[in-house]
Amino acid sequence: MKKSVIFGALTVAGLTAGAAGAATLDDVKARGKLNCGVTTGLAGFAAPNANGEWEGFDVAVCRAVAAAVLSDKNAVEFIPTTGKTRFTALASGEIDLLARNTTWTFSRDTDLKFDFIGVNYYDGQGFMVPKALGVSSAKDLDGATVCVQTGTTTELNLADFFRANNISYEPVPIETNAEGQQQYLAGACDTYTTDASGLAATRATFETPGDHILLPEIISKEPLGPLVRHGDNDWGDIVRWTLNALVAAEELGITSANIEEMTANTTNPEVARMMGTEGDLGKMIGLDAEWSKRAIMAEGNYGEIFAKNIGEETPIGLARGLNAQWTDGGLLYAPPFR
């Protein structure tokens, strides 16, 4: 936009120059860094480690995009956003990409002028209760006090679920996961509800995780995915196909360990196209031939990223479930690279 940057930065809502409509790819290249919006800290998904480096399931998406576009997986500026600030940050151009376990919904995709570029985690909302409460189904929670994180789709699902089952509850809105954990453990609420993955992550940090159970009901569909601003389709394509490359790599058996060997020896034409030894897929999205190879090398393929950050070997301990490849009965299905 034509207005000067100084005045633009002063605008009330931070809707500044360089927002939607501009070529994000050029901006990112000129800047030499990808501005990636993540959570303020959720173990396994995005949190700084002991050395202050961000790591996690969502962080890996940012790094893969940075590797594809800038050839450097560390050329990422991680910008922590809360449930409240995330959309304004993306709409204003403060971040190029939001990878912050955000649920793909109709109104966010259309009314808020964003484009969800895919799903990197299929989630659903669940309930955690202390074993001692003696509750085995969410439908037994009539009259319960429920801790719920505010500013998420969870509190809408919660209202809908209790209304549909004609039972009552008392919500305790909380701002952060840490606070919810404290309230729940102090008994200020009977149950804590958020995405099942988040509950598992939270429970993993308890002193005695065995004293708490997740109720079997999953009351909503929560497809979590990265999103970009609506209007810059070229940039959207780059992010979408980077994510697809990670998923396809797992399906095709390309890992960060065997990628060089696969590139040299593969007889599978799709692998060859992805590795840039055949065809010119990279050129079609304005990148070089080896973009997807770099994206996969950054943090590994989808399966590796999952296993390293939130898989069953980690304290979070999530099973693949819906997030398995379609060939294994899951929902992950990358369109062909052709």
């Binding site: 009330v12 009259g143 919660l158 008392e170 919500p171 102090a186 008994g187 200020a188």
Partner: protein
């Protein structure tokens, strides 16, 4: 000798706007105003242009759409199917409630602490100094969190009231203190209860009338009537009498543990208590300093003169010092009341559903209409603050020195 001549005819030249001290300040102010307007116009048009470029618009139609979320403390009818506007009203009323309660208790804390800070007793004086310094110098946000955490951790969960040998029991079988709030009996209004209420209101008026009569009698004839015990009698006796004459029309509904929580009675939620207490004790420390400053601003000669007339220390404070100190206390007190109202926007920290939590929090998030919601919030707080200032200024004018 000097000769007097007619002064030059006043003539106005454009350069006088800059060089004549009579006009220069006005010129500067006009220029500054022009720049300010231009800056706001620029920001506004920039915002509009950028919104247009992003394909977004400013629309308030979301206010009519169903909110879709539940709120834990609703003083007006509200369900998750109510509109966002209704949710905003719920928030507004909750904000006003906590601000009103906190203003009253903060004033009480402040006046007591401020007077006691000037006590002749060393221990009392120092204790109050510690209170003021500790609470004034730690951010209110931290106090809210500390108080809420202490409440949730130290009081028992409703679970503790259950079973054959519960670890906690209800106070007098009527009050339950849990970490989700305090449950107290609720009055049940039977037929004829309005007569009792009317009697009660009348007796309050009666108390004031009696005290006014006593004062008038004192001024006119010098006869001093006792006021305390007659006031107590007027306050209680007629209501109690009417209550039994009407056949006890007002009953009590006691809270009882049912399911996960106490049901029945009135619930005062833990978030409300924590926020209310934190705001009042924090702002009370500031008000204490205002009160102390006000009292010290009254010349010592006043209290010495009152003592010379034979007034007792309590009366000196109530009749001579405090009325004069009020003139100094009220103006800063206004800004403390404004602070309470504005600080109540930290409510979401403890899950209290004020206007910032409903309209500026959940509604903003769910609709993504940040600019619209924040604008509404700004307008609301502006209106509330201006109203409080207006009301307090009227009171200030009534207490300030009358110049004749």
């Amino acid at each position: 000798m000097t000769t007097l001549t007619d002064p030059d005819k006043e003539s106005f030249r454009l350069s006088m706007l800059l060089y004549d001290t009579r006009y220069r300040s006005i010129t500067m102010q006009v220029i500054a105003l022009g720049l300010l307007v231009a800056a706001f116009w620029f920001l506004g048009s920039n915002l509009a242009a950028n919104l247009r470029a992003a394909g977004l618009n400013i629309s308030y139609s979301f206010l009519g759409a169903p909110a879709g979320y539940d709120i834990n403390q609703t003083l007006i009818p509200y369900t998750s199917r109510s509109s966002n506007l209704q949710a905003a009203w719920v928030g507004i009323i909750n904000t006003l409630l906590v601000a009103f309660l906190a203003c009253i208790t903060a004033t009480i804390f402040g006046v007591i602490a401020g007077v006691l800070r000037l006590s002749n007793n060393w221990l009392v004086r120092k204790l109050m100094a510690v209170y003021v310094e500790i609470f004034r110098n730690i951010p209110v946000l931290i106090w809210i969190l500390i108080i809420y955490t202490i409440m949730t951790v130290s009081t028992p969960a409703p679970n503790a009231f259950r079973g054959e040998t519960p670890t906690s029991t209800m106070f007098l079988d009527a009050f339950a203190f849990t970490n989700r709030g305090v449950y107290i009996p609720a009055p049940v209004w039977g037929p004829g209860s309005m007569v009792v209420v009317a009697t009660f209101v009348l007796s309050i008026i009666g108390v004031f009338a009696y005290r006014r009569y006593a004062t008038k009698l004192l001024f006119d004839t010098g006869r001093l009537l006792p006021t305390f015990w007659p006031s107590v009698a007027i306050f209680f006796l007629p209501s109690i009498l009417v209550f039994f004459v009407m056949g006890s029309p007002i009953g009590l509904e006691y809270p009882a543990l049912k399911g996960f929580n106490f049901q029945g009675g009135i619930q005062i939620g833990a978030p409300l208590i924590a926020l209310w207490f934190a705001l009042s004790i924090y702002t009370g420390a500031f008000i204490a300093e205002n009160v102390r400053a006000g009292i010290q601003a009254v010349s010592r000669g006043q209290s010495e003169a009152a003592a010379a007339l034979g007034l007792r220390p309590g009366r000196i404070m109530n009749l001579v010092v405090l009325p004069q100190a009020l003139r100094v206390i009220i103006p800063p007190l206004i800004s403390q009341y404004l602070n309470i109202t504005k600080n109540s926007s930290l409510a979401i920290l403890v899950g209290y559903a004020d206007i910032t939590a409903t309209l500026g929090g959940i509604t903003l998030n769910q609709t993504g209409r940040a600019i619209e919601c924040v604008t509404l919030l700004m307008i609301f707080y502006l209106i509330i603050s201006l109203t409080i200032s207006f009301g307090m200024n009227i009171y200030n004018n009534s207490t300030k020195l009358k110049e004749r």
